[in-house]
């Protein structure tokens, strides 16, 4: 496999073609057609390495963790905790204790909103952007109701970039406690300048949280180089299973934060009078965690690392450039979001054809795209749209699939005029 990777062409998004063999689902037919899966931004498909690691765990080495005094439990605990080291390395974290396992990014953000949020005072501000996924908006609205904080919104520019001047103005009164912003938009594909955002936030005395749900799939993340305070990712978009996500936060912040959920595994001692909390990160991991899914996430990260982000980034950049070119030639098609820094998530509209009709007709041809508001209703309103269709790419996407998308869109368009 390595040979192929070294000798493989790197042009035109073909360099990772060999990985397709690792994804059993890609050989499925849909309505009698080859599956063309262009919805990886919603959830990625899983390589057999992930599927096998989870099945093997259940077949050969499974027991509850952190409590059994027997061989199976100890081995499972080791496998589970080894993934914490892996995630720490994957994100460039300073220490394994900074990695908290959650169910997904949504839960990771809710953890921060509940726990760190409880340390905020009325009148302090949480600053989000106009292009947040509901996962990075609704928890802060709920915190506003609970705590009387202010929620402030930084707009996006017409091309779909974060308005950095407005961000500066929003930070200028010194009341912002936390900036919570996406590292890559799931609608526009925009990649934000996280390091610049961190610098601006810190200069204004604020902490910064990045929603890396999309970005961490496509680019190497180094939370220390970004100078972030919190960073969240979700396993199922990273070619891993559902039910496992990650919160990274600086150790000193985690230590200051109260627990989120209470129960087993998160305590040091319990009596009816009072309980004391386990050390970080266990303080935030109440109850039996998603053991098998965590091990699956470990397999997914190993798989991604075996390909390497240099190749993944080059592949996706080539695909994105190709897609912008061929989609731009479809009559009536308008790409929504044209920020200069962007990844392989492309939203579009097509003249008067409703995105849901586009998605249904593409599906009849085996092509899976997403259509709707993409859990970003305020952004849709800002763009003056009720919905878009969205094609998004993964390591297994090929230029031919994008050509097929463009050709089928052209036919659909013909059908409606």
């Amino acid at each position: 496999m390595m040979d192929q990777m070294v000798t493989g062409k790197t042009d035109a998004g073909n360099s990772l073609r060999h990985v397709r063999a690792d994804f059993p689902i890609l050989s499925q037919k849909v309505h009698g057609k080859d599956l063309v899966f262009l919805d990886s931004a919603a959830s990625a498909q899983k390589p057999r390495q992930v599927i096998d690691s989870m099945a093997d765990t259940m077949r050969t080495q499974y027991a509850n963790i952190h409590r059994g005094l027997y061989w199976m439990s100890e081995r499972t605990t080791e496998a589970y905790e080894a993934v914490r080291d892996q995630v720490a390395a994957f994100l460039g974290a300073g220490a394994r204790e900074e990695i908290v396992f959650t169910r997904n990014s949504t839960e990771a953000i809710n953890l921060v909103a509940h726990s760190y949020g409880s340390l905020l005072r009325p009148g302090q501000v949480v600053l989000v952007s106009e292009m947040e996924h509901h996962a990075n908006l609704v928890p802060w609205q709920m915190l506003r109701e609970r705590m009387g904080i202010e929620l402030r919104v930084t707009p996006v520019t017409d091309d779909g970039a974060l308005d950095m001047d407005a961000l500066g103005r929003n930070l200028s009164d010194g009341r912002v406690a936390l900036v919570a912003i996406t590292h890559m938009s799931n609608v526009l594909g925009t990649i934000t300048d996280a390091r610049a955002i961190s610098d601006m936030a810190h200069a204004a005395g604020a902490k910064v949280l990045f929603d890396g749900s999309q970005l961490a799939v496509h680019r190497r993340v180094n939370v220390r180089e970004l100078d972030a305070d919190f960073y969240v990712v979700t396993g199922h978009k990273l070619y891993g299973p559902t039910g496992i996500g990650v919160l990274w936060a600086r150790r000193e912040i985690l230590e200051e934060m109260p627990p989120f959920l209470g129960g087993g595994d998160m305590i040091a001692s319990v009596s009816f009078e009072r309980s004391t909390w386990a050390h970080v990160p266990h303080k935030f991991e109440a109850g039996t965690p998603a053991i098998i899914e965590t091990i699956g996430l470990g397999a997914a990260l190993s798989y991604i690392e075996s390909i390497g982000f240099d190749r993944i980034g080059a592949h996706e950049d080539a695909l994105t450039a190709h897609a912008l070119k061929v989609l731009g030639q479809v009559s009536g098609l308008k790409v929504v979001g044209t920020a200069p820094q962007r990844g392989g998530v492309i939203s579009f509209t097509m003249a008067d054809v409703h995105p849901h009709d586009i998605a249904t007709l593409l599906d009849r041809n085996g092509i899976a795209v997403r259509a709707g508001h993409h859990c970003a209703e305020p952004l849709m309103r800002r763009l003056g749209l009720s919905a878009t269709a969205r094609a998004s790419f993964g390591i297994y996407t090929t230029p031919e699939e994008i050509d097929m998308l463009a050709a089928t869109l052209e036919q659909i368009r013909g059908f409606f005029v």
Partner: protein, 142 residues
């Protein structure tokens, strides 16, 4: 391209050039149906007599072709019907989209039967009907 029997000419035509779109000066009842999943929206304006019989219906639809065609065909179909009859047609349509088999008497509305293979789109066709039935029920309660 594999087409779909769902997007028959009648659906495309009614979506593109609806015959019953707009407002109605003499409307006595109004209703709105919204699909929160996709933001599709149907505004209905109906003229209903004191016996609950529908005279005319007009619709203003912002949505996909399925929703728009459904609203237009509904407006045509329910003219002259009372609430009980509207509910019977609605039930027959619901059976058609669930099973793919159009019950006798469904008429032109049977173009929506292929929705049984597109379960995520059934709501698009049913949205105008739910709005209409809510409107008629509200009227009765009053």
């Amino acid at each position: 391209m594999a087409q779909d029997d769902l997007y028959r000419t009648v659906v495309l035509e009614r979506a593109k050039t609806p015959r019953h779109a707009g407002k109605l000066d003499i409307a006595s009842l109004h209703a709105q149906g919204v699909n929160p999943l996709c933001g599709d929206r149907v505004n209905l304006h109906a003229q209903v007599d004191t016996h609950g019989r529908i005279g005319q219906v007009r619709h203003e639809t912002r949505g996909c072709a399925i929703c728009a065609a459904s609203a237009d065909l509904m407006a045509e179909r329910v003219m002259g019907q009372d609430t009980a009859q509207v509910k019977r047609i609605h039930a027959a349509l619901a059976t058609a989209v669930e099973t793919g088999e159009a019950p006798d008497g469904l008429g032109e509305l049977s173009v929506f039967a292929p929705l049984h293979r597109h379960r995520s789109r059934i709501r698009c066709a049913m949205l105008p009907w739910s709005a209409l039935i809510d409107m008629l029920n509200d009227d009765k309660d009053r």
